[in-house]
């Protein structure tokens, strides 16, 4: 004991002291329990069966007795719904030791863990997350395809919570230099996309830049990351940076003959031109994007390009041309199965019809939008449609109807916490309350 205190006193770092205590603790355990502690450090959680599989031992009465002893260790915690886990600091210490001094054992334990997880409940994404995590740690040069495809699939389904569950532990391993850099680059890209989805743009920028730094060899990954970075900078109104990232991304996609990726970059570049009041440049990019999306038969991409062209025409006062574009976009949204896109197109069509003085048509289109948003139970769209109808009635000097609609929209905007929408409704309410009816 006094030896340990002497060692602790002479230790040069906190980490060294922690390891001395850990070793003291391990040495106090039965050899079987000690072995189990090392194995238990590999997964993020474990239960008796998982541990038996890792150690290659039968899950019998003798093993149960050993696990009971393991559970009395101060560094073993309950992991709700799963079993147990080693305390974060203890696990980090053990993994570091395994990685630095017993790499073959570290890899072998991860392979066993991946194999065990692959045979569990396939409908539970947490098992899939665990399987992919261990697969990536089991080999120096792992097959990344499964991980990438699964991450992209969850991202495309907007399952960002599961995307985070997949990539966060890998980012922690990456910070300890235990993950293949390409896998880490994909993890940072997916984390950055997730941050962007949750409007955490600064975090997104930082993670996407880490992905760029780690990836030295894969042009598709680089192009994807540049597109995501360009998008984030666009959202932050950093147009020069956005343009730089997107132009590089576009060029890389062009070189890799990836028309979809190139078109995605062009759409955002076009939006930047539109904001900077460069309508001709914007139009050229949207048209080019439309052609590229057509080449790969991407109906949603076509719809977005046509919608962007419609917005451009609408802003320039070219309402007839805008209507044509929105009608084409509407068709593509239907083909792509995007009901929200369809409903928003009805709203744009209604707006342009009103601005052209085609009030009956505008009302019909607004009502189409309202009905569709209600069917989708989309409150925001419902409020927008009601507010737009209110504006139409105000234009027709039907102030009582406009007032009732403004009140209806206001209630929904307040319900969903949309302050801008609420202000717009109040402004409409005020304007129709002040104007006497003819």
């Amino acid at each position: 004991m006094s030896d340990l205190l002497a060692h602790l006193q002479s230790a040069r770092s906190e980490e060294e002291r922690e390891w001395l205590v850990m070793r003291f603790s391990l040495d106090s355990l039965d050899p079987a329990v000690r072995e189990a502690v090392w194995a238990a450090a590999i997964p993020r959680w474990f239960d008796q069966k998982f541990l038996a599989a890792l150690l290659g031992q039968p899950d019998d009465a003798s093993f149960s007795r050993m696990v009971e002893k393991l559970l009395t260790c101060s560094f073993v915690e309950t992991f709700p719904g799963r079993g147990y886990n080693l305390h974060e600091r203890t696990r980090a210490l053990l993994l570091k030791q395994l990685w630095e001094y017993e790499k073959p054992r570290y890899r072998k334990l991860n392979r066993s863990a991946a194999d065990y997880c692959s045979h569990q409940d396939a409908s539970d994404p947490q098992w899939r997350v665990a399987e992919l995590y261990h697969l990536l740690l089991a080999d120096e040069d792992p097959d990344l395809e499964q991980f990438i495809q699964q991450g992209i699939e969850w991202k495309n389904q907007f399952q960002y919570a599961t995307v985070e569950a997949l990539v966060r532990p890998l980012i922690i391993e990456s910070e300890a230099n235990r993950v293949n850099p390409q896998a880490a680059a994909w993890a940072y890209l997916l984390q950055g996309r997730s941050d962007g989805f949750y409007s955490r743009y600064e975090a997104a920028k930082s993670n996407l830049k880490k992905s760029l730094d780690l990836n030295s060899e894969n042009p598709i990954l680089r192009a994807e990351t540049l597109y995501a970075l360009g998008n984030v900078c666009y959202m932050l109104d950093e147009y020069d940076d956005a343009r730089q990232f997107l132009e590089e991304g576009q060029a890389l996609n062009q070189k890799a003959e990836a028309p979809g990726g190139e078109a995605n970059c062009l759409v955002v570049l076009g939006q930047i031109d539109r904001i900077l009041r460069l309508p001709e440049a914007a139009q050229e990019k949207f048209n080019k994007a439309l052609n590229l999306f057509q080449q790969v038969n991407d109906k949603l991409g076509e719809a977005i390009s046509l919608n962007s062209l419609g917005e451009l025409d609408s802003a320039l006062g070219e309402h007839r041309a805008a209507i044509q574009k929105f009608e084409d976009a509407l068709q593509r949204y239907r083909e792509a199965g995007s009901s929200i896109g369809e409903a928003n197109c009805y709203l744009s069509l209604a707006l342009n019809s009103r601005l052209m003085g085609e009030y009956d048509n505008s009302r019909r289109l607004n009502e189409e939008a309202l009905s569709l948003f209600r069917r989708l139970d989309n409150k925001q769209g419902e409020a927008n449609s009601i507010w737009a109808l209110g504006i139409l009635y105000k234009t027709l000097n039907a102030n009582e109807e406009a007032k009732a609609l403004a009140e209806q929209a206001l209630v929904i905007y307040l319900q969903i916490g949309d302050r801008l929408g609420a202000e717009q409704s109040l402004a409409l309410l005020k304007s129709v309350s002040e104007i006497p009816e003819d």
């Binding site: 709700p80 947490q126 907007f158 949750y198 069917r375």
Partner: protein, 263 residues
Amino acid sequence: MGVPVADYHMERAAFEALMGANCEQRILFFRGESGSGKTTLLSNCRDLVRQARISYVNIDLKGTGVTIGEILSRTSKSLPEAQLPNLTQMASELEGHPEVDLENIRQSGLGNKINITLQVSDPHDREQRRVALTDALFADLRTFTKPVLFILDTYQDATTEVRDWISGPFLARLETATPVRAVIAGQTLPEESNLDWGHCCSSYHLKGVPKPEHWLPVVEWMGLQIPGSDALSWLNPICDLLQGRPSEIMKYLKAHQARSLQT
């Protein structure tokens, strides 16, 4: 009853105040590094809640696997369903909506309904459903005549969606729901300067337990055989060298105990 907590008297007093009928600071934060004793402190708090027979919902956000649906679902399981009529009705209304994917129903009951209603792919729609369910839950919680406590641990592990929900809709509604209290522990926590609920929040930073006298009750509870007669002198260098970090000191004490039993 679990391991006694070494020190953290102020934090425990703040927690006891949280259980009082007229408590004003109804949100309590325990912030601390890994190994600072948050989980042991919370375990001790749970013992106090059980002794006081107060309704509580215990959620550990460890491991990024906990969704908002899961939190609402566990809330419905922890509190009597009869006292949650609004949440029950809202979950039924949303579940009956044609856009909701009703496949893979393996359980029945309110918890499952909540999970199903949040299984929609459109993120905007999902957000609206979360807000509707949160409003319904708090409409019910406001009618409770006795305090109801939420204990949320390992906040730093929560997904962004869950963090945004806790620091946004959940705490904002808690501010106006007087029977509801929350204690949240983690290495990182919501921004307590929040305009909506910051004024009813107390925050404590757990910095470890470096004074040996605070470890005496733990040593006694463990029945440790101390070399010599002066436990404080024995504990002093340990607490000092391990910088008062509870996880490390406990590891040391447990190893010492195991060795004593072996000899």
